[in-house]
């Protein structure tokens, strides 16, 4: 598919920019491992005093941490660098080049930045996930695995749409660079099951900044906590958000090119 081909081109470019620096790999690996160790150490402190957090067993929370790193890695791999680059290009005027290319501008803008070191985070997250599931001793059934994959995709779509909506604001407001940090600050909360938080915070982390859909919901799918209604609801929300973000994007482009509303 054309999208994949273009994504591969940008991927190669992302690799190209970094490969010259082998030391970078070592440093990035160190930093990712340190972040993982920090998260797990935090868990160790908590679970020294209890053997259940809410309804979550320790290894289930470890699995959640794995999902957190996995999804965080995907966001940091393409979504974040592309949106940052897009906001910058609006300010510098180089967005005009993207708009004169014969490809859908939203597509080009969404895959133009690739931060390949985030592959480390994805690998680590996946590794932690596998180890945690192993220790849980549960067999991951076909339904759970499918639900997990589905929730990862839906969660990814929801997070992408959210970032796109935030970034699209730069068509109207100039000083928008910091707006993306909103998600990154709130994403921290995704390391713990969202069900722990009081109702108002749960609401905020679900419907205002969709952190819950990024981490907790896929983890719940994997540990058999989801019912079909939530699964369908999440998929539905993902579809709606993709449409809404697309429409908002189109409105942004129209505004940028001075079309009368």
């Amino acid at each position: 598919m054309k999208i994949l081909r273009l994504l591969w081109v940008f991927f190669r470019i992302g690799v190209m920019g970094e490969l010259a620096y082998r030391l970078n790999f070592v440093v990035q690996l160190f930093q990712s491992l340190l972040e993982l160790a920090t998260a797990l150490a935090g868990l160790a402190v908590i679970f020294a005093y209890t053997d259940k957090l809410g309804s979550w067993r320790p290894d289930e929370v470890v699995a959640l941490v794995g999902v957190y790193f996995l999804v965080g890695g995907v966001i940091g791999l393409v979504i974040q660098p592309s949106m940052e680059r897009f906001i910058d290009s609006v300010r510098q005027g180089t967005l005009d080049y993207t708009l004169t290319k014969p490809e859908d501008a939203q597509l080009l803008v969404s895959i133009q930045g690739v931060e390949i070191w985030k592959l480390i985070d994805i690998a680590l997250g996946f590794g932690v996930l596998v180890v945690a599931l192993g220790r849980l001793g549960e067999r991951v059934g076909a339904w759970q695995a499918a639900a997990f994959a589905g929730m990862l995709l839906a969660g990814g779509a929801i997070v992408y749409s959210f970032w796109l909506i935030l970034a699209t604001c730069s068509f109207w407001f100039v000083r928008v660079e910091n707006i993306l940090i909103i998600f990154q600050s709130m994403y921290e909360a995704g390391r713990w099951p969202v069900s722990l938080y009081p109702g108002w915070l749960r609401f905020g982390l679900t419907f205002l900044v969709p952190v819950a859909f990024a981490t907790t919901v896929p983890a719940e799918a994997l540990t058999g906590r989801l019912n079909p209604q939530v699964v369908l609801g999440t998929v539905g929300l993902a579809a709606v958000m993709l449409v809404v973000s697309r429409l908002f994007w189109r409105a942004g482009i129209r505004h940028y090119s001075g079309a009368s509303a």
Partner: protein
């Protein structure tokens, strides 16, 4: 859509308008609060009713001072901006619809802004364009070879863009923009900031590309040398309106009311102010400015009255002409 008859213009602009609505706001908290209640806006007419056509294969210079409306017009032609009113078609397409077949046939190069990716070798940015424009491998190779040869890109291709000098970067930017062999080329100040030699090279390249491909080129520039070298036809725009559209020589002809006579005498002792306005006298060369109609008569008198060693009649420099055009004076 997209089929243009051989006689119809490649670019057709009719009564084009672009008005911006800008909100005015002063600094300070009080003004910010005020603006919440009452928004003061100002309408700025960037383009105020211009019309002209371009035929296939023309290289046209688009002249005007800063803020004249050149870049705005270029953006409307390339589909980046919606006109407020008027008609525009390029290659039979309406630009702001941004149809993919249209975008594949045009290209835009902006002098101060780069489309090449900063950290990676030039050739990899080219590859990106190849994928985006869906250029066939054989066509791509052929075009790349030709551009490499014409622009002397050989040693540059494997270098990251950040390691190139300004001139080298510009050459690569232009090459990247032409890989898909567009039929219409929009150049917005392409030689700005370059040294004289590089400017000349790029000019030569554009002329050669136009000759080989028959592409239509619309070029905006501050540098008269660009326009003189490349464009037979110039369109002059000022305050959003067209001041002139025609041959460059006709521009000079129409907007100059004076000629310059340079007389070589032995020294600067004589006072020649009775013949015309004395602009300068250096080492025996006197420069006089006389009304066009009187040129022949003054020349006769000078030759008859004075021991003239040499005498030449010149047009005022084109920069001066253009400046006066903008100031709406006759030169």
């Amino acid at each position: 859509m997209g089929i243009s008859l051989p006689d119809s213009p490649i670019i057709h602009i009719h009564d084009l308008h672009k008005t911006y609505v800008v909100s005015e706001r002063e600094a300070g908290i009080r003004a910010a609060l005020q603006s919440l209640v009452h928004r003061r806006t100002e309408r700025i007419k960037a383009v105020d009713g211009i019309s002209f056509d371009l035929s296939g294969g023309e290289i046209v210079g688009f002249l005007g001072p800063n803020g004249a409306g050149k870049t705005t017009t270029l953006k409307m032609l390339s589909g980046l901006l919606h006109p407020t009113a008027g008609e525009v078609t390029v290659l039979g397409h309406v630009p702001w619809k941004r149809e993919k077949p249209f975008l594949r046939k045009i290209t835009l190069v902006m002098g101060q802004r780069n489309q090449l990716i900063w950290d990676i070798p030039v050739i990899d940015s080219f590859e990106l364009n190849r994928a985006v424009y869906r250029i066939q491998a054989s066509d791509y190779r052929r075009t790349l070879d030709e551009l490499t040869q014409l622009l002397e890109l050989g040693p540059l291709l494997r270098k990251p863009v950040r390691n190139l000098s300004l001139g080298e970067r510009m050459k690569c930017e232009i090459a990247a923009a032409l890989l898909h062999l567009p039929q219409v080329v929009f150049l917005d100040e392409p030689t700005i900031g370059l040294d004289v030699i590089m400017q000349r090279r790029i000019r030569g390249f554009i002329a050669e590309y136009n000759r080989r491909s028959g592409a239509t080129v619309l070029l905006t520039s501050h540098y008269m040398a660009d326009v003189e070298a490349l464009c037979r036809r110039v369109v002059v725009i000022h305050l959003g309106r067209l001041l002139f559209d025609g041959d460059l020589s006709a521009l000079v002809e129409r907007f100059t009311a004076h000629k310059t006579i340079v007389v070589q005498l032995g020294d600067c002792r004589d006072d020649l102010s009775s013949y015309g306005e004395v602009v300068s006298c250096e080492e025996g060369y006197v420069t006089l400015r006389v009304p066009k109609a009187e040129t022949a008569r003054v020349t006769e008198r000078l030759l008859a009255d004075l021991p003239v060693i040499d005498l030449t009649v010149e047009d005022p420099p084109i920069e001066e002409v253009i400046e006066r055009v903008f100031a709406q004076e006759a030169v």
